[in-house]
């Protein structure tokens, strides 16, 4: 879709959100709602950072504060060297791609894209020039005279992106831009967005609730919940080294198993779970003490069917998904979810069948036990 040479100039800058707080008052005068609770976030020049989290976690509010549509209750926002905390939204030069695209329904594709240039009093010849460059970059030539209502969802999406980048913004903002597309198109557009963003090198903040999307396009993923940042890392660390239960559970599936530390040496911990002993790499997320409690994060793909497996279980549920089969397995008092990608070899098991499981111990990561378990003495 994209042309080889990028005709758009970019001004890569850092973005810094410091101590950002946004409180919405509730109408009935009860306790205020902390939409964004004192977050700190640095985005390096040219990076694409994703804000990921369930609805109501504050990700969109954060994005809108960067755009200037919401004013922070306190804290500051810097774009490059400028403090833009109280700069009105039309003076920030940050372009946004809206969830609904927000194309101007009464203007043609060309006029939509040229709008930002005209508004900023760019000379007419240059407006035409630059608009056509972006139109060809986005392969919109044949649609340039159409109205938005005459475009498909994917085409509208491209117009929305074209309109955002034509003004050569300092920062590009995406508010769940792909949520209105069907699954196939979403994957395609996701990769296109990323390619263009990388080619132009525009510092970008991307909001989504889709974890796969976040994994696929981000330099850095920021997981938010209840207005707070839970973890900000590259996608690999987010998945393999989650900070807490929320991150582990939100990013992919996770079985949390409660264990007791038996021994720690050479960066390896010997842990008792489900009556068996496993050896797991120590990390910095948890302080281990002998005979102390610990939670083991075991993802479904860490388990495999194996005659030599230490763990004995009974299948309680079978979900056939084509390329793999998902089983729920009762292991003693615990139930875990596992995936079998080699079902053509193992056959598809039935509910009630007894099986042996092997755990890939080298993949397991450790977390401090959840407070409630400690309290209830369940460890």
């Amino acid at each position: 879709m994209t042309n080889v040479s990028a005709p758009i100039k970019t001004h890569s800058v850092d973005v810094k959100l410091s101590n950002l707080l946004k409180i919405f008052p509730t109408h009935d005068g009860s306790e205020d709602f902390y939409a964004v609770n004192e977050i700190e976030l640095d985005i390096k020049a040219g990076e694409l950072v994703t804000l990921l989290g369930p609805s109501g976690c504050g990700k969109t509010t954060t994005l809108r504060m960067l755009a200037g549509f919401e004013l922070p209750t306190s804290g500051s926002i810097h774009i490059g060297a400028d403090n833009v905390t109280n700069v009105p939204p039309n003076k920030r030069n940050v372009a946004m791609v809206f969830q609904s695209y927000a194309l101007f329904p009464h203007l043609s594709v060309f006029e939509n894209i040229a709008y930002g240039l005209k508004i900023n009093n760019v000379p007419k010849g240059e407006v035409i020039d630059r608009t056509f460059k972006v139109i060809s970059l986005m392969h919109l030539e044949e649609f340039k005279d159409r109205l938005p209502s005459q475009l498909s969802g994917g085409q509208q999406q491209r117009v929305a992106l074209a309109r955002a980048i034509v003004t050569e913004p300092r920062v590009l903002l995406f508010d769940e831009p792909l949520s209105n597309l069907d699954a196939k198109l979403r994957e395609y557009m996701r990769d296109e967005l990323r390619k263009i963003q990388q080619r132009l090198g525009i510092t970008s903040l991307y909001v989504t609730h889709d974890q796969t999307e976040a994994m696929a396009i981000s330099d850095k993923v920021v997981i938010m919940n209840h207005g707070k940042i839970q973890q900000a890392d590259n996608p690999i660390d987010i998945y393999t080294r989650p900070n807490n239960h929320f991150v582990a559970g939100f990013m992919g599936k996770a079985n949390f198993l409660h264990g007791v530390v038996k021994d720690v040496k050479d960066k390896k911990a010997i842990i008792n779970i489900l009556g068996q002993t496993i050896s797991v790499s120590v990390n910095d997320k948890v302080k281990l003490s002998e005979n102390g409690p610990v939670d083991c994060v075991t993802r479904p793909e860490f388990w495999e069917l194996s005659e030599e497996g230490k763990f004995n279980g009974e299948i309680t549920r079978v979900i056939y998904l084509g390329n793999h089969v998902e089983y729920e397995v009762a292991l003693g008092d615990e139930t875990i979810t596992m995936m079998d990608f080699e079902h053509y070899k193992h056959g598809i098991k039935q509910e009630g069948e007894r099986i042996k499981l092997h755990l890939k111990e080298e993949c397991v990561s450790l977390l401090p036990p959840r407070k409630e378990y400690v309290k209830e003495g369940l460890v």
Binding site: F98, A102, P105, S108
Partner: protein, 572 residues
């Protein structure tokens, strides 16, 4: 605030205060916006609130400027006043009930059945809206009066008494049922068809569906129609003036006290007595009933409604609508005919004499009405759109106040505005009485609500992120309004233009106090012709008025479509 250790309550107070402060700061950064908000506030205060306050004031303050309640006590104990008050209310209630029933049946037939001729019925029902209300009174005199073609010509009565409550209820029902019809049509159309389908699907009969689903869901609409027609009927000035006879109403008495007895205070008191019930009804309608509405705008495209096609339902509805439509056509046909005959009921030869007479008598009032309406219409419509934009999209202190005060001049009876304007603007620095300006201002502020309503309704359906996108690309509020919001409010702008023009051309109750020798208006001329019993000339003027309105509506429609399509290249 960064200190989260403070107790929640102090924290909230601080944030509220600083939020307001921040809003103000943001406003100051957009000086255009701030200036416009201030200008609108000042003009609403001067031209809506202040004149109404003057009307209240004069009823309790005597000529020496002292508080004096004797007028109120006197009037309230006078049986004449109480009779007049009761007359107005009785008239309002009767007209509201009949008008709403007819309006509902019309709306149901048009929205729910496959009845033939729906477009035609719809069109005829709009006639009373675009013509001055007292056209119907004039026509009723032509039909049933002393020389009426039905009373005298057909039945040979030569002493038929057409004046009084019965005629008045008939006229106002026919004149104002279209308001109920349009209101209820909107309500019935907006009820999600799947709700009624669900009831049918569960085994309910058509009648059951109507009684248990459609009617209950339409109740808020019915109540608001009742109140709207009630307000219209009690504040109507033209019809009672022409045909009430001995049956006195408040609006007419207020006028007669001032122009006949030169008693400004008594007149004002009658106006206030008129104001209270109508204002109460208006705000109940606006804030209480509308809140109860079941109609929601989802933006989800609804599937086409399955229309009723059973003969035993459609036929009675068709006959009913046919009868009402026939009556409306008879009324307007009579006026048309009356404009072309020599002496009504005596010499029925066709002639153009009446039109010649209107030209010799003076075409000034026609020109004045046209000029002043044409001047105030664009101001009203654009101002309406701006206020709608501010109310829906902007945050500023006193927004609710702006909304309420912009409705005030619309909600209060024209009589009150008329009297208020003479009281408020008869001395320097605001010496406006006798000028054209006072008429333009009266038109503008009385009609602005129509534009605001249309504007807010259409803006609510525009995704706010479209405007945010414009802001995000660097446009100021002003530019966004001009380039994005206003074009998207095109249809609202059109209806704002049409309504304010029609209302200006046909208004009488307010302007009758404000006209002067130099600035007489068409509606007032017609009224005086009726009073002089030169019915032919009155009819001719009415026809001229209606034709002008139709032409202007056509031109406006063409103009608005041209404006938006000239930029559109062909793509299909």
């Amino acid at each position: 605030m960064a200190n989260t250790n403070t107790t929640p309550s102090t924290n909230k107070i601080e944030t509220n205060g600083s939020r307001q402060l921040k809003r103000m700061k943001m406003l100051i950064k957009e000086p255009y916006l701030l200036a416009i908000i201030i200008i609108i506030f000042v003009s609403l205060f001067v031209f809506s609130i202040y004149p109404i306050y003057q009307v209240f004031k004069i009823t309790v303050v005597n000529d020496e400027g002292l508080l004096d309640l004797s007028l109120i006590v006197e009037t309230f104990t006078s049986s004449f006043f109480l009779k007049t008050l009761w007359n107005s209310i009785q008239l309002g209630i009767l007209s509201a009930i009949f008008g709403t029933i007819i309006g509902f049946i019309f709306a149901y037939a048009v929205t729910r059945t496959e009845m033939k001729g729906k477009k035609f019925f719809n069109l005829v029902a709009l006639l009373p809206i675009i013509s001055p209300p007292f056209v119907i009174a004039l026509s009723v005199i032509l039909l049933f009066g002393r020389n009426g073609i039905i009373s005298n010509g057909l039945f040979g009565f030569d002493d038929s008494n057409v004046y009084g409550l019965r005629s008045l209820v008939f006229i106002q029902t026919l004149g104002f049922f279209p308001i109920a019809y349009l209101n209820l049509k909107g309500v019935l159309e907006a009820i999600d068809s799947s709700v009624e389908d669900a009831a049918l699907n569960l085994g309910a009969s058509r009648w059951k569906v109507f009684r248990t689903i459609t009617l209950p869901l339409a109740v808020p609409g019915i109540l608001s129609s009742l109140l709207l027609v009630f307000i219209k009927a009690i504040e109507d000035f033209g019809n009672p003036m022409v045909i009430a006879g001995e049956y006195q109403t408040l609006a007419v008495q207020a006028y007669l006290q001032i122009t006949g007895m030169y008693d400004l205070r008594a007149g004002s008191f009658y106006a206030v007595a008129l104001l209270l019930p109508s204002l109460t009804a208006y705000f109940i309608q606006k804030y209480w009933i509308n809140k109860k509405s079941y109609v929601t705008v989802t933006g989800k495209p609804t599937q086409a409604r399955m229309k009723i096609n059973e003969k035993h339902i459609v036929l009675p509805l068709f006959i009913f609508c046919g009868l009402i439509t026939g009556a409306v056509l008879l009324i307007y046909g009579t006026v048309l005919w009356g404009a072309f005959v020599k002496v009504w009921g005596v010499d029925n030869t066709l002639t153009l004499d009446n039109f010649k007479y209107t030209f010799t008598l003076g075409f000034d009032s026609v020109q004045n009405s046209l000029l002043l309406s044409a001047l105030s219409t664009p101001i009203t419509a654009i101002l309406g759109m701006i206020i709608a934009f501010l109310i829906i999209r902007k945050q500023f202190i006193g927004k609710k106040l702006m909304e309420a005060s912009s409705m005030l001049a619309f909600a209060v009876p024209g009589t009150v505005i008329g009297i208020g304007y003479i009281l408020a603007f008869n001395q320097k620095p605001l010496l406006l009485t006798g000028t054209a300006l006072i008429l333009i201002i009266a038109f503008t502020f009385r009609n602005i609500t129509v534009g605001i309503e249309a504007g807010t309704n259409s803006l609510r359906q525009v995704d706010p992120s479209i405007e945010e996108a414009s802001t995000n690309l660097g446009a100021s509020s002003f530019t966004t309004f001009r380039k994005i919001s206003l074009p998207l409010m095109k249809s609202a702008l059109f209806s704002g233009l049409v309504y304010s023009f029609v209302r200006s051309m046909t208004s009488i109750s307010a302007v009758i106090f404000l006209i002067s020798v130099n600035w007489n208006l068409l509606t007032v001329t017609i009224l005086s012709q009726v009073e002089d019993a030169s019915l032919g000339a009155a009819a001719a003027y009415c026809i001229i008025l209606i034709v002008i309105i139709l032409i202007v509506i056509g031109l406006l429609e063409f103009f608005v479509n041209y404006l938006s399509s000239s930029k559109r290249r062909s793509y299909r």
